[in-house]
Symmetry: C2
Subunit: 364 residues, 2 copies
């Protein structure tokens, strides 16, 4: 079992990563001083529920916790105010009070949705993350929680840190291969922005990771969480440093929006975006090497590196300029300067980005 | 012009109270360093908009601010996730960014709704309160913002402090008399929980206040805001002390819910609730005087002091036990111990409260 602490003063919290650690959930909850007197609510989705919900419910009930579950449809569309309202209904019906906790059992969608419910129910109750996707190593660290608006992703939300994150890699074994790859895309991102050595390690261990080898996987998730938590500790509210986590996300978000949520997974879209950022780096005079390493890596992991030809450049650009990272003619853009290092540039023009989008359609 | 500061460390903010001070709105915004580069959004309601919106829009535009407005229907039902979504739509259409501010121009409904929009849009943008009701002296101090769920009031919300509160008593002159009285109910509450001298002053100045005499009104609002801000400064997140602000609210909220929102105004319902709390105080051995002063006061202000006979006791009780202040068989209850002082009791039984409800139906 690996453990790390996200350092945020009085909001600090532990992340536990390991195989089969869900079996000790009661001990972890006791360590976090969760109350047996106040009901708990698990939020999960229709795909995860049949796979893992019963086990978690049983463990908690046997441990003396009062717990019920609220199951939402799987997928990004559940990050909505309508589903939020449904969770609040469930919370009220289950009699949750100010000492209760809301638990997210699922991927980033469930984590973001349940987290925003926990942030806003009674103006904030305790929150626990039990991630079931690889991508959720990212979403479960840092306290960003949100739902979407039809016009913009993650636009209605809060900063709400969990009490603990319980990351059992056994729960990941049921993931479809495409979700595995997409999740690893963010793991790789954490290497690219912060840790050259880990980037090399990722290049060397693609097969193990894609096979969900427990040792490789728990190491990779540990480093991924660690990088994210270092960044978040230094800038909880995204005033500056935290922006580096958005490597690949400016183009990535636009691609997701234009493709229609679902056609491109988040991890796939940002893989393309990271290749784009590496190309942009070249235009700013940084070595070709960055682009090569980035692209080779994602190809090794079976992730896309080019923009699907049928996606219209104008639509991509206009999706991007609605993005909150666009401000006053130039864009804030995260660019790799070498492997394991990025910089936040504020002088990238919309025109330059457009060029990159065009180039990314021809990437082979 | 009167000024006071709500002391909350780095979240401290000023409240300005005076006649015609809206004319200096641009100067106040400059003092608060609101940005002219980022659009502002005013949230107001359909009653307030025709009365005061144009003036505020014009002042701000002449001062060089980019500002648009979002108008919601008047009344409690606008404190909903649906209206929240509408405000977010307006914010996106107006191009608000992270440096933007959302302004509440209206009563407590608009303040709570716009405040929650400001708390959650992009995970938090700046917020300004321009209260247009007397009751909003209460809702504009303390940072509690929320919308309702069909099953519970204020259950989805956040703590989000404004940048400033601009309280122009000129805007109050259009208030219907019933709203004036209901608003004064909370002003009186602030005397009853904290300030015996002010309570006496309220008893002596009922006519001036009901006539909206500028001097009396601005003094009363100043003291009301001051008491609330002292309490809030000591307990921003309602861990303990802040609960005293709920004097009269346990029964009050239940009455509002059972009567159907709208039949009893909030200020009316809590006036009855405060008479009830004073009766309960007697049962705990505190002087009869408290009940007499409380009841005389509200009668002088033309506020109700008895529960309408057609409201069913069982329904009132069950509305109350769903209330978040009910916990494990006994209730947390705020009881006056003398004029200007209250205590937080945790040993009041549901049975005792039921008795008070019955008695309050016979109050004459
Ligand atoms: N809050 C943050 O900081 C942050 C960071 C990154 C991403 N996100 C958000 O995370 C979301 C994406 O996360 P995600 O990729 O985990 O999406 P997801 O939660 O939708 O999970 C992907 C799919 O896998 C299924 N699934 C989950 N666990 C499974 C399991 N163990 N076995 C089989 N199937 C399983 C889900 O039902 C879903 O269909 C996006 O909404 C994104 O905005 C948030
Ligand atoms: N956040 C807090 O700490 C807090 C504290 C107390 C109350 N509240 C909330 O405040 C709300 C009640 O506030 P309220 O009484 O101001 O309600 P409100 O905002 O609904 O205003 C009452 C009525 O007066 C009208 N109105 C407002 N200003 C006017 C003006 N200048 N001239 C003519 N008409 C005007 C409104 O359109 C409305 O019809 C409740 O939702 C309550 O939960 C919040
Ligand atoms: Zn991401
Ligand atoms: Zn009140």
């Amino acid at each position: 079992m690996r453990e790390l602490t996200v350092e945020l003063g009085e909001r600090s919290y532990p992340i536990y990563i390991g195989q089969g650690i869900i079996n000790q959930i009661v001990a972890y909850f006791d360590r976090a001083k969760l109350s047996r007197k106040s009901p708990l609510l698990i939020v999960t989705d229709e795909t995860v529920a049949p796979l893992h919900l019963e086990r978690v419910l049983t463990l908690l009930r046997e441990g003396g916790f009062a717990v019920t579950a609220c199951v939402v449809p799987a997928g990004e569309t559940s990050k909505s105010l309508a589903q939020l309202e449904g969770i609040i209904t469930a919370a009220l019906q289950a009699g949750l009070d100010r000492s209760s906790a809301i638990l997210a059992l699922g991927g980033g969608v469930v984590g973001d949705l349940a987290g925003f419910a926990a942030a806003s129910f009674m103006r904030g109750v305790r929150f626990v993350q039990i991630p079931t996707t690889i991508l959720a190593h990212d979403s479960s660290v840092g306290g960003k929680v949100a739902v979407n608006h039809p016009m913009a992703k993650n636009i209605i939300g809060a900063f709400h840190q969990p009490e603990l994150v319980l990351f059992d890699i056994e729960l990941l074994l049921t993931l479809p291969p495409r979700e595995v790859k997409a999740g690893l895309s963010e793991v790789i991102k954490h290497g690219l922005i912060w840790d050259a050595e880990f980037t090399q390690w990722c290049a060397d261990h693609a097969d193990e990771l894609l096979d969900l080898d427990p040792d490789a996987l728990s190491y990779a998730l540990y480093i991924g969480c660690k990088v994210k938590s270092i960044v978040v500790s230094q800038d909880e509210r995204e005033n500056d440093l935290r922006a580096i986590l958005n490597l690949g996300h400016t183009i990535g978000h636009a691609l997701e929006a234009v493709a229609g949520y679902g056609e491109l997974l988040h991890g796939e879209a940002i893989a393309i975006g990271m290749v784009g950022a590496a190309k942009l780096a070249q235009q700013f005079g940084y070595g070709e090497e960055i682009h090569k390493v980035t692209k080779d890596m994602f190809q090794k992991y079976g992730l896309p590196v080019r923009i699907p030809a049928h996606l219209d450049t104008d639509s991509i650009m206009s999706a991007m300029t609605h993005d909150k990272k666009f401000k006053e003619g130039t864009m804030v853009y995260i660019i790799p300067t070498e492997i394991g290092k990025v910089e936040i540039r504020k002088d990238v023009t919309v025109h330059q980005v457009r060029e990159i989008v065009e180039l990314l359609k021809e990437e082979s």
